[in-house]
């Protein structure tokens, strides 16, 4: 009896903690590093300081500066290297895209081409119930923990009908993290093969998209968009960049895929 009272007292004290997202925009601190913003009008002639400073070759100059969010670690090297302050981070959390090309941004980018929803038929199948199997394949546990955080009461993924399941046979798709190590390649292939059709692949984090800081290591496959894995994992349906992405960036991507957010909202 006393114990029941203690449970209720603690419950009342802890309060209601689920965020109002997506009805209200997430509150992120001023220093939060969301989508980078480039102002290439500030670029001095013949300057490639940011390209040189970038640890993952996410920046390249093709007449003008371009930045690949799929390789970007959201570190501060380019920001610190730029003599003119042409690169800065915004607190924009929305970054998920449906194609690899859409992850490239440049000086003209005011808004990235965010992920579009699945077609009508797929939305009728998955729009209210999406079951995913997470596969960590060389993930440092950064992305895995942010995905796990989606299940806490603040983000409460279950309220959107999205759930992580134990067996690939119960799943509608796999959520891939990590640069696919040599030692995990077979496990990834088998897990993917065990998911019934139609199925989705969602790549979360710089490692899964491009190899991240480990790109070029002989111990990994650089990324699932590499030719090596094309026959086993034909395509990636959603890219969620970050190192690791904030949980709300992952949630935004998943909801966009399901057509649960108006595009641009």
């Amino acid at each position: 009896m006393i114990h029941t009272w203690n449970v209720l007292k603690a419950r009342l004290g802890q309060g209601h903690r689920t965020s109002d997202y997506p009805d209200e925009a997430p509150v992120l601190p001023e220093r939060f590093r969301g989508r980078p913003v480039i102002d290439d009008t500030k670029c001095p002639a013949d300057c490639d300081a940011c390209e040189k400073a970038c640890p993952t070759r996410a920046i390249r100059f093709d007449r003008k500066i371009q930045l690949d969010l799929g390789r970007c670690l959201f570190c501060r090297e380019c920001v610190e290297a730029c003599p003119e302050g042409a690169i800065r981070y915004s607190t924009e959390h929305r970054m998920a895209t449906r194609t690899r090309e859409d992850l490239w941004i440049d000086g003209k980018t005011t808004e990235t081409r965010l992920a579009s929803a699945l077609d009508q038929k797929m939305r009728s199948l998955f729009g209210r119930s999406l079951k995913l199997r997470q596969v960590a394949a060389g993930d440092c546990n950064g992305c895995a923990l942010e995905i796990q955080a989606l299940n806490n009461v603040v983000f409460d993924l279950g309220r959107f009908g999205i759930q992580f399941v134990a067996s690939p046979r119960h799943a509608d798709g796999i959520l891939l993290t990590g640069p696919i190590t040599q030692n995990m390649k077979l496990a990834v292939q088998k897990t993917y093969a065990a998911v019934p059709d139609p199925k989705w692949v969602i790549a979360v984090g710089a490692c899964a998209i491009s190899g991240g800081p480990f790109q070029g290591s002989p111990a990994i496959h650089r990324g699932p968009d590499d030719d090596i894995d094309k026959k086993d994992i034909p395509s990636i349906d959603l890219y969620i960049p970050g190192c690791p992405p904030h949980p709300v960036t992952i949630l935004d991507g998943l909801l966009r895929l399901l057509g649960r957010l108006e595009s641009g909202a």
Partner: protein, 495 residues
């Protein structure tokens, strides 16, 4: 009797040639004598020198004397294994065999650790330890697990419900992290150091920066040191609180599981307010830190810590006063103090066996030289003890932060000094008490500003074997709970 070894301290640099080179027999005897007297192997690795020769380097920690002893020997392709007489060497010797092709003769269980070479099969492709008999059966789990968790393979030999033996086969996460650090320090090597284990970004970044600063003789300002300690304690808090919540979830006590799950995020968010990233990436850099507290932050952080502390106490009281929770935690997965010593366990896993080991007080670095956190020990070595150690450490870390934020050293323009080039031929051992225990980074610099050998040891490297021991004569259904109570790193082990 003193060891024939170079005596040094955490974070000090010395000339690599000053490490005594002993004969293999003497090397072996010195290590066995040291361990007999209560020293621990904190790092033990090989470095190839010339054709068909390998230098074995062993670092022994004397926790009572706050010192580290370094000794070495040169071997060709084989030497007499230490493991039969000194079990804590077992995984180190397997690692040396894999990295340097040197065979420890007489090692009782010789297998690769990470299956690094493409010539090898993938992990799981080699035989497992097995027991035979009509009433025995084998259970195989992983590498892909049921939850959102890193990959590893667990092979159980069971007698009915009870586990006779558990073999843990890791290596699936191997990315080749060490090889990226065996260069001149760069933004890339820093990013890799932060990704050794993504839940211990501050811990490993700090160890790496301590190495660079030590070898390049770069000073770090008191304020930057204090900010590093703030970040390290925030990292400890988020992980310990997450673990308490996960333990509640594993025993089916959802109220505290939900509360701790939310509270973990409060500390990640504090780290994000300070550093711009929930895991504190891009904060610790050679020479200092990249962000300072602004004027409003100390008061704001204090208020958020106070509120979180109040809610943590309510969730923890509920957890530790609920009889059905205690019944699942008490006596489950016990590791004896003797096993703890023999295996050289570190961190909360050791402190829950009553061993007062903590780098922050045994080998203090940075701000911990001036501000002490009492070492939290609990006896019993069971899941309950591992949970209780975390509960106490959470309280003490919050106290440390509250004291520190009030009283930060004055800052100037030296929040981040520039680290000059590395001096050549120097060696250093940098220990950091991460939330899982002792992180050790050992480096030797070569010519022209590069690190020629870099060895990372995550605390999990010691502690995984403790999980296997905890499972002996324990029902297999308690595996998830035992595993969670250690919560070891797969990526940190696999590198």
């Amino acid at each position: 009797m003193t060891l024939d070894a170079l005596i040094t301290q955490n974070g000090a640099a010395f000339d690599a040639v000053d490490v005594p080179i002993l004969s293999p027999e003497q090397f072996r005897r010195e290590i066995l004598d040291g361990v007999e007297r209560g020293l621990r192997i904190t790092a033990y690795f090989g470095e190839r020198i010339g054709a068909a020769k390998t230098s074995l380097v062993c670092v022994l920690a004397d926790d009572a004397e706050n010192s580290l002893s370094v000794l070495s020997c040169a071997v060709r392709d084989r030497y007499r294994s230490l493991t039969p007489d000194c079990p804590q060497a077992h995984l180190f010797e397997r690692e040396i065999a894999e990295q340097c092709d040197v065979i420890p003769e007489g090692h009782p269980w010789m297998k690769p650790v990470r299956y690094q070479s493409v010539a090898l099969p993938i992990p799981g492709g080699t035989p497992f330890f097995s027991a035979e008999g009509e009433v025995l059966h084998e259970v195989a789990v992983g590498p892909v697990h049921a939850g959102i968790i890193e990959p590893g393979h667990f092979r159980f030999q069971c007698h009915g419900e009870n586990v006779l033996h558990l073999e843990i086969q890791l290596g699936y996460q191997h990315r080749g992290a060490e090889s990226f650090l065996e260069t001149a320090p760069s933004p890339r090597s820093m990013a890799v150091a932060e990704s050794v284990a993504g839940d211990t970004v501050i811990g490993h970044a700090l160890a790496y920066c301590n190495v660079v600063e030590s070898i390049s003789r770069c000073a770090v300002s008191p304020r930057a040191q204090a900010l590093r300690a703030v970040a390290l304690e925030l990292e400890r808090l988020s992980n310990h609180i997450g673990d308490l919540g996960a333990l509640c979830a594993d025993v089916g006590f959802l109220p505290s599981a939900a509360y701790f799950g939310r509270l973990r995020g409060e500390f990640l968010n504090l780290l994000m307010s300070l550093t711009g990233n929930r895991n504190g990436r891009s904060f610790v850099r050679p020479g200092g830190v990249t962000f300072d507290l602004n004027d409003s932050m100390p008061a704001d952080f204090q208020a958020r810590l106070k509120a979180a502390e109040y809610d943590i106490q309510s969730a923890a009281r509920l957890m530790f006063e609920t009889p059905s929770v205690l019944a699942r935690l008490e006596g489950t997965g016990a590791v004896s103090e003797r096993t703890c010593r023999e295996l050289g366990l570190v961190g909360p896993s050791a402190r829950s066996c009553g061993m007062p080991l903590d780098v922050r007080s045994d080998h203090p670095h940075g701000a911990y030289r001036f501000s002490h956190i009492p070492v939290s020990t609990v006896s019993g070595g069971d899941v309950y003890a591992r949970a209780m150690v975390r509960r106490i450490e959470v309280e003490r870390s919050i106290q440390f932060l509250e004291d520190h934020l009030h009283d930060m050293p004055e800052g100037g323009q030296d929040l981040r000094n520039s680290a000059g080039p590395l001096r050549s031929g120097r060696m250093t051992i940098c220990l950091v008490e991460g939330w899982r225990g002792e992180i050790a980074h050992v480096a030797v610099s070569g010519e022209s500003g590069v690190l020629r050998r870099y060895k990372i040891k995550d605390p999990s490297f010691h502690n995984w074997t403790a999980l296997a021991m905890a499972l002996r004569e324990t029902p297999i259904s308690d595996f998830p709970l035992c595993n969670k109570s250690f919560n070891l790193s797969y990526a940190g082990h696999d590198l």
